[in-house]
């Protein structure tokens, strides 16, 4: 008896949605085994990692605070991925958005009466867009792979960040430590619920999910993006310009990443520091695929990944597990997701073994 992988001929709708659920289930099963091997009570460990973060004080609010930037970035990425535009540099666009927004905040440092954060929003979007525009230009003019250029530009953005916080934007009263002044109240993303860290950026993430869904499902543009990705030649015959879709994907992806960066400095971080890039731009890639490149899916995928961060911290506090537990979880999840996606285009068939003629 053996297993055979047979092409389905067309994509299975069932498995397109079933695959992430199966992947999450397999991830839980695997972590269960890892916990058992580490000598921890497996069910207790699962509870600490996946349930405790939600029942803790401020648990749900922290989940949204953590998930908001990841969701924002992933919505933008998934639109581009639909059209086969592989923007891997969201991390850099996120940093650039934060830099542009901080520039506005520092320029209006003495302004107390006017809500400076209102100006920081377009600045953040612009910063991300500028950083997304470079790969778009290189792609459309010179056919340079956006995978490479956008990724490389992430390192450039990080160096620009370091230059600014070590040099011209260093806090003059900060004893030479490389970070900007704390942003003023006028330059902070408004807090919405007292006693929590829920700020305007969380609401913005939800609005972006809705807009993204509308764009993808209800607009001609969304249709063009989907066709360009699934059948590039059909798109060409229909007269859809690949160039303009490349530009659009990178500008939207960059802009939303920049917005996420803006809300992080104006929200929970409160200043520009070298510790700003924590990999949200890369985590968002997992989220985009976990959410089936669909804004609503991305919303839930983002919350699952955010929960994995919070659960990793709880696992350290309550179980004494190492920090690596978070990354291991995310790695296992991505591994299973890619594996399970095989079921969308292929099915498994059991082939009974033939008896050999004597």
């Amino acid at each position: 008896m053996r297993l055979e992988i047979v092409p389905r001929g067309e994509r299975s709708r069932l498995w397109a949605y079933g695959s992430p659920i199966l992947a999450i289930a397999l991830t839980l099963l695997t972590t269960l085994m890892i916990f058992a091997v580490l000598g921890k009570d497996p069910l207790e460990s699962l509870r600490v990692m996946w349930i405790d973060p939600l029942t803790a004080r401020r648990g749900i609010s922290e989940l949204f605070v953590k998930g908001a930037p990841i969701i924002m970035i992933a919505v933008g990425l998934s639109l581009g991925f639909r059209a086969n535009v592989w923007n891997i540099g969201a991390e850099g666009q996120y940093v650039m958005g934060a830099i542009f927004a901080t520039g506005v905040a520092l320029y209006f440092y003495d302004v107390e009466t006017f809500p400076v954060w209102v100006l920081m929003i377009p600045a953040g979007i612009l910063g991300g867009m500028v950083w997304g525009a470079i790969p778009a230009f290189l792609k459309t003019q010179f056919n340079a792979s956006e995978i490479l250029t956008s990724l490389m530009l992430t390192y450039v953005a990080n160096l620009a960040l370091l230059y600014l916080v070590v040099g011209p934007w260093k806090d003059p009263e900060g004893y030479g430590f490389p970070q900007t002044r704390l942003l003023t109240a006028a330059a902070s993303s408004p807090h919405l619920i007292p006693g929590t860290r829920i700020h305007l950026g969380v609401v913005a993430a939800v609005i972006i999910v809705i807009l993204g869904w509308f764009l993808l499902s209800k607009s001609l543009l969304g249709f063009k993006l989907k066709v360009a990705g699934q059948a590039p030649r059909a798109a060409a015959y229909a007269g859809f310009s690949t160039k303009s879709l490349t530009w659009l994907s990178l500008l939207v992806g960059g802009g939303l990443s920049g917005l996420a960066g803006m809300f992080e400095v104006a929200g929970p971080i409160g200043q520009l520091t070298p510790a700003l890039p924590t990999g949200y731009g890369f985590t968002a890639i997992i989220v985009a695929f976990l959410g089936r490149l669909h804004p609503v899916g991305v919303f839930f995928g983002g919350l699952v990944l955010a929960l994995s961060y919070l659960g990793g911290e709880k696992a350290q506090i309550a179980l004494g597990l190492p920090a690596a537990v978070t990354k291991i979880n995310q790695g296992i999840l991505l591994f299973y997701l890619l594996g399970c996606d095989l079921l969308i285009r292929y099915r498994l068939r059991v082939v009974p073994s033939k008896r050999r003629a004597a």
Binding site: G176, F177, P194, E264, Y309, E313, I317, A324
Partner: protein, 357 residues
């Protein structure tokens, strides 16, 4: 409005801790929490903090919790709050980047004691503490000055903050006290822990003619690069001799043990007070690893230097000290006070290359 909100927060904090108090009071369990920036497996900075934690646990019979690899951004506040909510009565946050997050949480939890390492912001329930790491750097400088044939040390810096700059300056002052022509070639890698980058930096510096490696980054990688080339170097934060038995000359070892024991005990007794602690060799917060892989005369000089610093006979930042460009920075007979040292942003003569800008 403001008052209302504060009372709300206080009430919330109290409500959060009450059920825990009920549970822990019976078991008489006192919990201490620690937040680390690196993995405890770095065998450097975070590792040493963890050694201090274990020593305090053992000495006082308390139960402690640590969270490692906490990014110095939006996540720090949540981790510190988690520990506070979870009934930890004293919380040590061990990296500079946790400063503002610690302060924010400290304001909301007036009944919990907070201890922040290497920062400068304090509150009634938030103290700061640090080690005079630069004393060990001066001794390393003396050793390097006597050992280096080229008279050039390759120095791997992390982030150009005063702590790193004062260490580099102390090193060159120690080196030039025995070899007035001594030089430092430096590279800043903008990270505290990145074994790959640290090793690359070490290789680049050795290729440029340095024959001893010093580091202000946390992994043993640079020391191991020196060992591979048959050269010598210094460990960082912990004794790294097992990573380079034939290459480590000495290492400045962070000794947080006594501080953690004292402060945790004070918190348990209710005698805890805020303040700033900056201790070095004399206070027992800094120790030098065994002086190894060096001739006898160098070892003797190192021991004498260590003794001199402990006795106060050697004052490291005492004029005349010239800045990098040769201009006088500290006049003869003048001594820098702790405030000047803690905000140092200039390099001394003998260090090559600019601070990253």
């Amino acid at each position: 409005m403001l008052i209302k909100r504060r009372t709300f927060l206080k009430a919330g904090a109290a409500a959060g801790t009450l059920p825990l108090l009920g549970k822990t009071a019976a078991a008489d369990e006192f919990k201490a929490g620690y937040v680390y920036v690196g993995p405890i497996g770095d065998f450097g900075y975070s590792y040493q903090h963890d050694q201090g934690r274990l020593a305090a646990d053992k000495a006082l019979g308390v139960k402690s919790t640590y969270v490692e690899k906490v990014p110095e951004g939006a996540d720090a506040e949540r981790v510190i709050r988690s520990l506070a909510d979870d009934g930890h009565k004293i919380i040590f946050t061990t990296s500079f980047g946790f400063m503002d997050a610690t302060l924010k949480v400290a304001r909301d939890y007036p009944d919990i004691y907070f201890e922040h390492a290497t920062g400068y912001k304090r509150a009634d329930n938030m103290a700061t503490y640090n080690i005079r790491f630069y004393e060990g750097r001066y001794i390393q400088g003396v050793i390097a000055g006597m050992m280096s044939k080229a008279g050039v040390v390759g120095y791997i810096g992390s982030i150009p903050i005063p702590e790193v700059i004062m260490g580099m300056n102390a090193f060159i002052l120690g080196m030039r006290s025995v070899n007035p022509q001594g030089k430092i070639k430096q590279v800043f890698i903008n990270s505290w822990y990145d074994p790959g980058k640290e090793a690359d930096a070490a290789k680049a510096l050795l290729d440029q003619g340095a024959d001893i490696v010093a580091q202000h980054t946390d992994s043993p990688a640079p020391l191991q690069v020196a060992a591979e080339r048959g050269l010598k170097g210094f460990g960082q934060a912990s004794d790294m001799i097992k990573f380079a038995p034939n290459a480590q000359l000495t290492s400045s070892i962070d000794q947080w043990d006594n501080y953690y024991i004292d402060r945790t005990k004070a918190a348990m007794d209710g005698t805890w007070k805020t303040g700033d602690t900056w201790g070095g060799l004399k206070a027992g917060m800094l120790k030098m690893a065994n002086y190894a892989n060096m001739p006898d005369d160098v070892r003797k000089a190192a021991i004498a230097t260590e003794q001199g610093i402990r006795d106060g006979k050697i004052v490291i930042f005492k004029g005349p000290i010239n800045a990098q460009d040769g201009s006088a920075k500290v006049a003869a007979g003048q001594t820098l006070n702790d405030g000047d040292i803690a905000s140092m942003n200039w390099l001394a003569e003998g260090v090559e290359g600019d601070l990253p800008k």
